[in-house]
């Protein structure tokens, strides 16, 4: 009999660019302990552990095996998943299905990544067909640059708008004790004064690489209602992958491509009675690897109409105190341990629903939240959370 599933425990590490004081297993353990403490559970209460990580970065085969004890997986069911940037979300989704199916009644989802131990060059370039690198010959930055140029031309967005996204992320990060990059930026001018890397991209347009882990404990309805005062219900999930764009890794100058974000959000909204996303959803934690990507996501997730994404940020509508807060946590632009990042999105969205986000809690009452992830060649996952179902 299918169960309804809630998040009953949330834990994350304090994300940093370097964590020489721990190895990866110990780092993940910090998040696991935090989640168990939050849920007021013990390791023995967990029945399955689903882990998520892009292991080629650290060069580890079967990292979940090395870390079995630290992730409370000994004697437990479970497995590891990996789908690129969306790995963490895939972890949450499979952890959800394990509990929803009744195969187990509690699951622990752990996403982790320790970039200070990784060979990033080897890891990223090895994504491409080992013998064929579409776009690799021009470098990842030029792919993002290409995307920004296409968006600027199509929508009329300006560099200021990308800068506003970074500013919003920084404001959120400065209020979020777990976030990594706390730059203390004073204004858009400061960002625009920083040099370009490749026209029109600045280094401030990118996410960092972090060392961090995030853990969630999922439980079936029976258990959730018994042990948690504030269970956060996973109302629905959706995964949509896609073939690479024809004319670039991230940008689409042809205007012909279908975006997985568009397909995913349409289906998710339809299934859940969401007709006006900015009204029916209270906040979004989205996976934005670059500032321009966030503006585009506003449109692709239908938070606004096509070509209007830059207007949302210009009007301050996606700020913490805004009409539709997006990434009040500081988002991926401030913190990006890849394997953990999608789990952090879900964790942050859940904290908002619980009212436990501390200084970066949004002003509007959060009953419904959506957490997204981005991976592979523009793959999307969306997880819909509700305070009550």
């Amino acid at each position: 009999m299918a169960n309804r599933v809630a998040i009953v425990g949330i834990g994350q590490t304090f994300h940093k660019s370097k964590r020489p004081d721990v190895n990866q297993a110990e780092m993940a353990n910090e998040a696991v302990r935090a989640a168990l403490t939050d849920a007021q559970l013990e390791a023995k209460d967990i029945e399955a552990v689903v882990s998520a990580n892009m292991e080629p970065f650290e060069g580890i085969y079967l990292p979940d095996h090395w870390m079995a004890s630290e992730m409370a997986a000994c004697g437990k069911s479970g497995f590891k998943v990996a789908t690129g940037g969306t790995s963490g979300a895939s972890g949450v989704i499979e952890g959800f299905h394990l509990v929803a199916s009744g195969l187990v009644s509690t699951s622990l989802v752990v996403g982790f990544q320790k970039h200070d131990t990784s060979d990033t060059q080897a890891g990223m370039s090895a994504c491409m067909t080992p013998v064929f690198g579409a776009g690799a010959s021009t470098g990842a930055i030029s792919e993002f640059a290409n995307q920004a140029l296409v968006y600027m031309e199509k929508s009329g967005a300006k560099e200021e708008h990308a800068a506003m996204v970074r500013l919003k992320a920084d404001r959120g990060a400065c209020r979020n004790p777990y976030a990594q990059l706390k730059l203390g930026l004073k204004g858009v001018e400061e960002i625009l004064a920083s040099g370009h890397l490749e026209w029109p991209i600045r280094i401030l347009d990118f996410c960092p690489q972090s060392c961090g882990a995030c853990a969630l404990i999922l439980a079936s309805e029976d258990i959730a209602r018994k042990i948690s005062r504030k269970p956060v219900w996973i109302a629905d999930t959706i995964t949509v992958h896609q073939e690479p764009f024809r004319a670039g890794s991230f940008g689409d100058p042809t205007g012909r491509e279908t975006y997985s974000q568009d397909v995913a959000s349409r289906k998710l909204y339809k299934r859940n009675g969401i007709t006006n996303p900015r009204k029916d959803i209270d906040i979004a934690e989205i996976y934005e690897p670059s500032t321009w990507e966030e503006l585009m996501h506003y449109e692709h997730y239908h938070f606004c109409d096509e070509n209007e994404g830059w207007k949302l940020i210009e009007k301050g509508m996606t700020e913490i105190g805004g009409e539709f807060p997006v990434n009040p946590s500081g988002g991926v632009l401030s913190t990006n341990p890849i394997g953990a990042t999608p789990v952090i999105r879900v964790a942050e969205a859940a904290l908002q629903i619980r009212g436990d986000a501390g200084e970066h809690q949004v002003t509007r009452d959060v009953k419904t939240a959506v957490a997204t992830a981005l991976g592979g060649c523009n793959w999307t996952t969306m997880i819909l959370l509700r305070r009550s179902i």
Partner: protein, 385 residues
């Protein structure tokens, strides 16, 4: 009454030491094409076709980050649901099963591949050892297995002859399996005379390098009955981790397997495995493992698997044939082996196992193993009623 999960079609490629003629995607497509043709299914939303695909591959074996990029076109992932599990492929089936039992999916394609010929086995496996203490010892799974075998043989008096009997049985069984890579007519003496790889494991106690792929389609009961006349039901399934450091484990007792088997049997209503199971497909990377895993599966008491092999009850024609397909020893890639075992179990239960058919098989066991000395174990019980 909750709907069960049925397997409606299975396919394996013929296992081969070096499929240099195809890349990963083309290899897995050889299996996927067969299950698509057999069921006539396409990809689509719920109720209209395959509504999710679960891949299973290892980035470290494929030498490619996000290794499912190499197969996504072949599993119909464009604008569709896809995920990738990174353990032995029997766990991808477990994941797919959860997707259906959760009520969110109806028909799931599961596909796995591994081309061992493309990588250096020792270097890949060495990367599984904890990087702080164990990696620099230069161990791979063979060296670790040798330790486990030594411990197991010492604790329970298992002999090298008994290990050799496993190899002789499985290599001989492979002659009946059109998918097998390397059937051999060998004797116990042949095994004992073959070169020692890592004492006490000899060349013929271990499996050859292999390339291959496997695909199957799972469906919820109501759909399964429409898609095939012979759906095979997953009666029970579970998996389990053990601790990582070999020094902390009792290598002669596979606790993870005991736990996984217990849960799977409980789900399937199996109380006396040796009597109630008619055929077992077990992942034996090395000959001693077939015996060790049989004990973990509760097919006999701890330490008695050697005697079981001696009695011949696990041979073809015996009370409980183990590895009628020839097992991993006859050539089957890591990662793929677990799902391949389920595929064999399905063929047995459908009565489609040809010359390796176990007569009147009603309940089958399939087993998958991942990691150092079987740190991660998975069990699936299948039946056709």
């Amino acid at each position: 009454m909750a709907e069960r999960v049925g397997i409606v079609a299975v396919a394996q490629t013929k296992y081969h030491p070096n499929r240099a003629d195809v890349n990963e995607g083309e290899l897995v497509y050889e299996a996927i094409k067969q299950v698509l043709d057999e069921t006539g299914l396409g990809y689509g939303d719920r109720g209209k076709g395959i509504d999710a695909s679960i891949d299973c591959s290892q980035d470290m074996w494929d030498g490619r980050t996000i290794s499912n990029l190499g197969v996504m076109s072949y599993v119909g992932a464009h604008l569709a649901d896809e995920d990738k599990v990174c353990e032995d492929s029997i766990n991808a089936l477990y994941c797919a099963m959860a997707r259906i039992l959760s009520g969110h999916h109806d028909i799931v394609l599961v596909a796995t591949h591994c081309k061992e010929s493309q990588a250096n086995k020792s270097i890949v496996e060495n990367a599984a050892f904890d990087p702080i203490f164990l990696r620099l010892l230069g161990l791979d799974f063979l060296a670790a297995a040798a330790m486990q075998s030594t411990r197991y043989m010492h604790k329970y008096g298992i002999t090298v002859e008994q290990c050799a009997k496993v190899a002789v049985k499985n290599r001989g069984n492979a002659k009946n399996n059109p998918f097998a890579q390397e059937p051999l007519d060998i004797t116990i003496e042949d095994v004992l005379r073959s070169a020692t790889l890592a004492s006490p494991i000899r060349l013929l106690d271990s499996k050859p390098i292999s390339d291959g792929a496997c695909a199957m389609i799972l469906a919820r009961e109501s759909q399964a009955k429409k898609l095939t006349k012979k759906p095979i039901w997953i009666m029970g399934a579970s998996n389990c981790y053990e601790t990582h450091y070999p020094g902390y484990r009792e290598l002669a007792d596979c606790d993870a397997l005991v736990k996984a088997a217990k849960k799977a049997y409980s789900m399937a209503g199996i109380t006396d495995p040796f009597k109630q199971i008619n055929v077992a497909e077990i992942s034996e990377e090395y000959s001693y493992q077939e015996m060790l895993w049989m004990e973990g599966l509760g097919l006999c008491q701890r330490g008695d698997a050697g005697k079981l092999i001696d009695t011949g009850v696990t041979k073809m024609g015996g009370q409980l044939p183990v590895n009628p397909c020839g097992g991993m020893l006859s050539g089957k890639p890591t990662v793929v082996a677990g799902m391949a075992n389920v595929a064999e179990a399905v063929l047995q239960l459908r009565g489609e196992a040809g010359e390796r058919q176990v007569p009147k098989a009603k309940v089958a066991l399939a087993h998958g193993v991942t990691g150092i000395c079987g740190q991660h174990q998975a069990v699936m019980i299948l039946g056709h009623n």
